[in-house]
């Protein structure tokens, strides 16, 4: 048990762990994470199995990486506690009296003589020290007086505060990992969705995409209303970087798309032999619309936003973007089908219509409309406040460690009749030059004052 504590309290272990965690983190950026087995097989061949078994393909979520982080956290706790108690003792119950030779070995020191008795010399010294914001402790021994003055004691604890911050961040990470979850909500305007594991609902009132003059997306804006018991309680426009928070849930504008299941399209019917013939019609999925002046009804069976013929000859969509919109239409005369096939918005001359019966008609897909859908990411992250608290400790600790160095001044004052001999020495944990000049100023003003 003792040896376990000893190895956990060693800085060497901390350094070894730091190096291993660094190397593992780097490895995780070289192997793409959380992909499918097929993708790994294509990339690494036989090695794919080994990589997956070692969890290198979900490295940051793997049991061994998390175990390393936990061991590291434990190491930080033990190391910090191990060094904390002597520091706490030094700061709360410092030793005030010293041997003169302890001051003699310090690099920053001074000897002074004052023509006044011990009591007035002591008052003078204390005044000078407190004008420089030192806190003074003293003890007395016959004709000797010992002074221990100190300031910026937090400097000693800078590293500990940093470590505390890191531990809080790790704790927050654990809490987020266990209690947090994320979910994508895909909405079209007017839809109301239930929020998983919550007692309220969310309605998308409005969704709009704003564009820059050059056509690239400027912003997505979703107007969301929170409904409790079917009553609206809160409405907010959610944009990227401007999420909505409600009852521990945060809603982000994550993505957008179109609802291609119920588009409406505009189709132009023409006749090859009669260039002046043009009939426009609006079609929705599975809705038979009569073609004006002809004994024909047209219907659309399917709409595909990004038409492509797959490897096995199957018709599918390559993406949800309207890159190659296509509609499958049928023409009916009563109960008799006279034609059917694909027409393409981008290739008006290229139709794949098979006619069962002689017809002079051609069709063009002129326009298509689908309602836009907004993808809202919902996340619940119960650890996030720990993260911010940890970050504050981290930064404060760094500032204390680097820029708030503890300064200590010790003095032995000996009263000999109406004279007082003062031996002073100082220690600073960092920026010794600045301390040296402060020390010189203090001793100089003690020498001069009366």
């Amino acid at each position: 048990m003792k040896s376990l504590f000893k190895s956990l309290s060693s800085v060497k272990l901390a350094i070894v762990l730091l190096i291993i965690i660094t190397a593992a983190s780097g490895l995780g950026t070289l192997i793409p994470q959380l992909r499918s087995h097929d993708e790994y097989f294509a990339r690494y061949g036989q090695w794919a199995n080994l990589f997956q078994r070692l969890q290198l393909t979900k490295l940051y979520q793997s049991w061994w990486f998390i175990a390393l982080l936990l061991l590291f956290a434990l190491n930080i706790i033990v190391c910090t506690l191990d060094r904390l108690s002597p520091k706490l003792k030094r700061s709360f119950r410092p030793r005030v009296s010293v041997e003169e030779k302890e001051i003699a070995v310090l690099k920053i020191k001074e000897k002074l003589k004052k023509h006044m008795n011990l009591d007035s010399a002591r008052e003078l010294v204390k005044r000078e020290l407190s004008t420089k914001h030192y806190r003074v402790r003293e003890t007395q021994e016959e004709n000797k007086s010992f002074l221990y003055a100190r300031k910026r004691v937090l400097g000693w604890f800078g590293a500990d505060i940093v470590h505390l911050g890191i531990l809080i961040i790790i704790a927050g990470g654990i809490i987020s990992g266990i209690g947090g979850f994320r979910w994508n909500l895909t909405f079209s305007e007017g839809r109301i969705l239930e929020i998983p594991r919550a007692d309220f609902k969310l309605k998308l009132d409005k969704f709009e995409t704003e564009y820059y003059p050059n056509g690239s997306v400027k912003d997505w804006k979703s107007t969301l209303t929170v409904l409790e018991d079917e009553k609206p309680v809160l409405t907010k426009i959610v944009e990227v970087n401007h999420p909505l928070s409600y009852k521990g849930y945060v809603f982000y504008q994550s993505s957008y798309g179109w609802d291609w299941t119920s588009p409406s399209v505009e189709i132009w019917a023409k006749k090859r032999q009669n260039p002046s013939f043009l009939k426009k019609m609006e079609l929705k999925i599975r809705e038979r619309v009569p073609l004006e002046g002809e004994d024909i009804e047209v219907s659309m069976l399917e709409f595909i936003p990004d038409f492509v013929i797959g490897d096995q000859g199957q018709i599918t969509t390559r993406s949800l973007e309207p890159n190659n919109p296509a509609a499958f239409i049928e023409g009916w005369q009563g109960e008799e089908k006279i034609f059917s096939g694909w027409i393409f918005a981008k290739f008006p001359d290229f139709d794949r219509i098979h006619s069962e019966k002689e017809t002079d008609l051609t069709f063009e897909l002129k326009d298509f409309k689908a309602s836009q859908v907004s993808v809202i990411q919902l996340s619940k992250d119960p650890g996030v406040n720990f993260i911010w608290a940890g970050c504050i400790f981290l930064m404060l600790g760094l500032l204390f460690a680097f820029y708030w160095p503890t300064r200590e001044i010790r003095m032995v004052m000996e009263g000999i009749g109406n004279k007082t001999e003062i031996i002073a020495g100082g220690i600073a944990s960092k920026s010794k030059d600045a301390f040296q000049s402060e020390f010189a100023k203090i001793t100089e003003s003690i020498r001069r004052s009366k």
Partner: protein, 270 residues
């Protein structure tokens, strides 16, 4: 007058500063160094004007593509240099550090870097862009100086061991490396890690995603944490410290530059 003219004037001023610094290094006279410093300072002022111009013209922070970001890093490096020169008086490292600035400016002006300002994608429309990028790059500028002083340390240390004289003592170089890291590390932590997490939480809904850029900034942070622990707790100084500082800067450089070109992830825009 436009932004690219100002950029060009800045570049020329930095080159002149570098030339005078090297003249100082080889002539061992003080005057060229003073002139060099003046040119560097004038360059910083014109560069500041160029960045303001860019900001006004594009309507967003001047670091949203590689050209802007390199130019900003060069600006931050000169700013860091002026602070370091003022605080630590280490003029003889100036010429070498100026070479990094020149390299950044040259890379920024190379035809590989598209110069036109494009409108911001939704994810970048946030004031966190200003805080996250500027503070991180300023921190990295101090790492860059520590990188130079660490290399100079290795050279000086080898010379001193052979009993030769050095322009800058190895001890001074070691101490300045440490003090630059003592400035760069808190800045990098604040800008790169803390502001990065806050922004990621606001924009992506997750304060940490193990995205390659995030991971590499953590790796950089770990390397400098290693530098500080080996130095402060285990008393490492000199050569071993210098090697860690060099590795740390290379990790920062990879985070800044390499990740964009070699790995893919959420930070694909910058």
């Amino acid at each position: 007058m436009n932004e690219s003219t100002l950029f060009l004037i800045t570049f020329i001023l930095y080159i002149l500063a570098t030339v005078f610094y090297f003249a100082f290094l080889f002539s061992k006279k003080e005057n060229p160094a003073k002139t060099g410093f003046k040119f560097a300072f004038a360059g910083l002022l014109v560069h500041t004007l160029a960045l303001i111009w860019r900001t006004v013209e594009s309507g967003h922070a001047p670091f949203t593509n590689m050209y802007e970001s390199l130019s900003f890093l060069a600006w931050a490096s000169i700013l860091a240099y002026i602070v370091i020169e003022w605080k630590f008086k280490i003029r003889k490292a100036g010429p070498y550090f100026m070479l990094i600035v020149i390299a950044l400016m040259a890379l920024a002006s190379s035809p590989l870097m598209p110069k036109e300002a494009t409108p911001l994608v939704p994810a970048l429309q946030s004031y966190w862009l200003w805080l996250h990028v500027s503070v991180t790059l300023l921190g990295e500028a101090f790492f860059a100086f520590a990188f130079i002083t660490s290399i100079l340390y290795l050279v000086a240390d080898a010379k001193e061991k052979r009993g030769e004289k050095t322009g800058l003592s190895a001890e001074k170089l070691d101490s300045v490396s440490y003090r630059c890291i003592a400035i760069g590390f808190p800045l990098f932590t604040l800008g790169g890690i803390v502001f990065g997490m806050v922004w990621a939480y606001n924009a992506w809904g997750s304060w940490w995603s193990w995205d390659p850029k995030e991971t590499w900034s953590l790796i950089t942070w770990f390397v400098f944490a290693l530098y500080l622990h080996t130095r402060i707790v285990m008393g490492w100084k000199g050569r071993r410290s210098a090697y860690i500082a060099i590795i740390g800067f290379l990790a920062a450089l990879f985070t800044y530059f390499g990740v964009n070109y070699l790995l893919t992830g959420l930070h694909s825009y910058a």
